[in-house]
């Protein structure tokens, strides 16, 4: 079968393939009153590095008119021709006459076609020479301005969103219900396994650590349940859930909307007189407002069951005793304080995700950058808000 389709390489084609075997030599021969630069072999881009330095050196040292002799060159490409032209120009700059000899017509054409393009140094390079301190100040100032600018735009975006959301309250017909429920599923229901697993483990860790420390005091072990209840319901469940959702949904919002911006879909929407805030942002943020409290409920339950398992394992307390113990010590306000934080977190996650998505440009990597930024900012703001809430609720005495 293969013999039948035997396909001999055409003459001269295969030789042009052998880039490794090609050799190039450069010699300076002094004949009478002239210096002859003699190239022989393949003057092609793969071989240039062998002679480039030597040739430039030779031009610098030349004392007589130069003749570049290409008669022994077997192959020439544009890069090789460019090198020859560079040498010739260099020689002329140094006030030496230079002549190129070639007996090959196509080589001469190439030499003519391979033009030297010079380009003046750009202004940025001069800028780099400014003193270090000034550049440092400049960088700091720029960073601060950028952050202030970002904050301003984010607040503006939030205002616009709230305006749209209020409008939707009065005219629910305008709400994209399909989109809303799709995002409730995506951000809520699909996050249940990961959220419940993580909070189960956190609940175990908190209960285990508490029981371990409290076991030093006789009879104090019972407070492990109280400790678990406060830590989980007030802080941990809601924080872990918000961080997981920020990682999952904030990034996916940025990626989805960013891809749409890069693809011109948002521009198409705007040109039709549609508002991306209504079509894209509102369903996502409202979906998070619905799904995050529900996720926190799931997280509370699974973290408490994780704690129950750990307490049963370390202290031998049965599940029934744990439940009645929990009933005795639990306070509703811990649960409501935890839940009260979720709408704020939901808005932060949703707005940051959508806002960063809308910042995308047509540059392909911009979406990638923005996705990272949106997750980092969302998690940062969640933890910051949580700290503020802790102070706030303590001051209120709840």
């Amino acid at each position: 079968m293969t013999a039948e389709f035997d396909f001999p390489p055409p003459d001269g084609l295969f030789s042009s393939l052998s880039s490794r075997e090609d050799t190039l030599a450069f010699d300076v021969i002094r004949t009478g009153s002239k210096e002859s630069f003699h190239f022989s072999g393949a003057l092609i881009v793969y071989c240039l590095n062998a002679v480039e330095e030597a040739a430039r050196e030779a031009v610098r040292n030349a004392r007589a008119p130069i003749v570049i002799n290409l008669t022994a060159v077997t192959r020439l490409d544009t890069a090789g021709a460019l090198l020859v032209n560079l040498i010739a120009e260099d020689a002329q700059k140094r006030g030496k006459t230079c002549e190129i000899i070639s007996d090959n017509g196509s080589h001469r054409n190439l030499l003519q076609a391979s033009r030297l393009i010079s380009r003046e140094q750009d202004a940025e390079r001069a800028d780099a020479k400014a003193c270090f301190f000034l550049r440092f100040l400049n960088a700091v100032g720029l960073a601060v301005c950028r952050q202030i600018n970002f904050l301003g735009r984010l607040i503006g975006f939030m205002g616009h969103f709230l305006f749209i959301a209020a409008g939707l309250l009065f005219r629910p017909r305008l709400m994209r219900w399909t989109s809303l429920f799709f995002h409730v599923e995506q951000t809520g229901i699909r996050a249940v396994p990961i959220v419940s697993l993580l909070t189960f483990l956190i609940g175990m860790v908190v209960a285990y650590m508490g029981a371990e420390q409290l076991s030093r005091f006789a009879g104090a072990q019972i407070f492990a349940v109280k400790l678990l209840e406060v830590t989980i319901l007030r802080e941990m469940a809601v924080l872990i859930t918000a961080i997981v959702v920020a990682g999952r949904s904030s990034s996916s919002f940025t990626a989805q909307i960013g891809a749409m911006v890069a693809n011109g879909e948002v521009a198409a929407m705007l040109s039709m007189g549609l508002e991306p805030n209504t079509l894209l942002v509102a369903p996502r943020v409202l979906a998070l407002l619905i799904s995050l409290p529900m996720l926190v409920l799931v997280a509370d339950l699974s973290a408490l069951s994780g704690g129950a398992v750990a307490i049963w394992y370390t202290m031998g307390m049965s599940i029934n005793t744990f439940i009645s113990e929990l009933h005795a010590v639990a306070e509703l306000r811990n649960f409501t304080v935890g839940l009260a934080k979720t709408p704020f977190f939901a808005v932060v996650i949703g707005l940051i995700g959508c806002f960063q998505g809308l910042q995308a440009t047509s540059r392909a990597e911009s979406v990638g950058f923005l996705t990272t930024i949106s997750v980092v900012q969302a998690i940062f703001l969640i933890i910051l808000l949580d700290a503020l809430f802790a102070i706030f609720f303590t001051a209120l005495g709840v």
Partner: protein
């Protein structure tokens, strides 16, 4: 191959000058047969256009030649090397011998235009940095981009400039073969005409072999030596446009003698006439 009949067996034709040869290539996607028993020779030094209706697999054909898509059956020879059986080493050397321009340029978006052009030089050769810059500036000039484009990122370029920059990158290593996917699509008529002239100039200067998938009738008339028609799952005919006009296939007839086809050939006739008159005037 002179007679414009559907070609049953291209391998019978003069093979000595074929730089790329496809032999009985099949492309199947599950039950969908895109190509069946496809034969095509691309001769050294020619500019070959590939045309075909939507969904006839023009881009798949190009990707098959490039090895980005593995053909279901058949053999592909590039410069006499069987790309199915050749060692990875040999295939790498073949890949350095062709330059490819993808439809939207496929420039690396994190690099400037200059860095994009210098990229193959940096990867495959050991020329010095200053020489790399000189070479990339030369290529930039060669494809007709202004110097100011050198430091721009692909995102900052217009569609036509992206194509030119992509071409400059494809030409960076002075390839023997240039494969182009719709090089003039999305260019304005003047830009497309410029591109045609550029291709002809490159072919004349560098002895390139060019294979282009195109829909641009003007471009076909202006630059292609031969045109391969993809129809009925194979290369139905490959010949000069003048000869293709005699092929009795409804799609080919419609393509070249439909309103736009007529206009393009008419325009070419006019251009030739103008040129003839011009040169006549010069002689006088």
């Amino acid at each position: 191959m002179d007679e414009a009949l559907p070609i049953a067996d291209v391998s019978a034709s003069s093979s000595s000058e074929a730089i790329i040869r496809l032999h009985r290539v099949d492309n199947r996607f599950n039950t969908l047969v895109v190509h069946e028993n496809l034969d095509l020779d691309i001769r050294k030094g020619e500019i070959l256009g590939i045309i075909g209706g939507s969904g006839t697999g023009k881009s798949i054909l190009l990707r098959t030649i490039l090895g980005l898509h593995h053909a279901s059956a058949g053999e592909i020879f590039v410069m006499g090397v069987n790309m199915n059986t050749a060692s990875e080493e040999k295939k790498k050397r073949i890949r350095k011998q062709w330059g490819v321009l993808f439809q939207d340029g496929a420039l690396f978006s994190s690099l400037t235009v200059g860095e994009n052009i210098a990229f193959p030089l940096r990867e495959f050769t050991s020329v010095s940095k200053s020489m790399r810059e000189a070479i990339s500036l030369m290529k930039l000039d060669l494809v007709g981009l202004p110097l100011s484009a050198y430091d721009l990122y692909p995102g900052e370029l217009s569609g036509g400039m992206k194509k030119r920059a992509g071409l400059a990158r494809a030409l960076a290593l002075d390839p023997a073969i240039l494969l182009l996917d719709e090089p003039t699509a999305g260019l304005d008529p003047l830009g497309a005409a410029d591109f045609d002239r550029l291709l002809l100039g490159l072919r004349a200067g560098l002895g390139l072999t060019v294979c282009m998938v195109t829909h641009d009738l003007d471009s076909l008339h202006a630059v292609c030596d031969r045109v391969a028609v993809l129809a009925e799952k194979r290369i139905y005919a490959v010949d000069s446009i003048a000869n293709l006009l005699h092929v009795k296939h409804p799609w080919i007839q419609e393509y070249f003698t439909g309103p736009r086809g007529r206009m393009a050939s008419h325009a070419r006739g006019l251009a030739a006439l103008c040129q003839w008159e011009h040169s006549g005037a010069d002689q006088r």
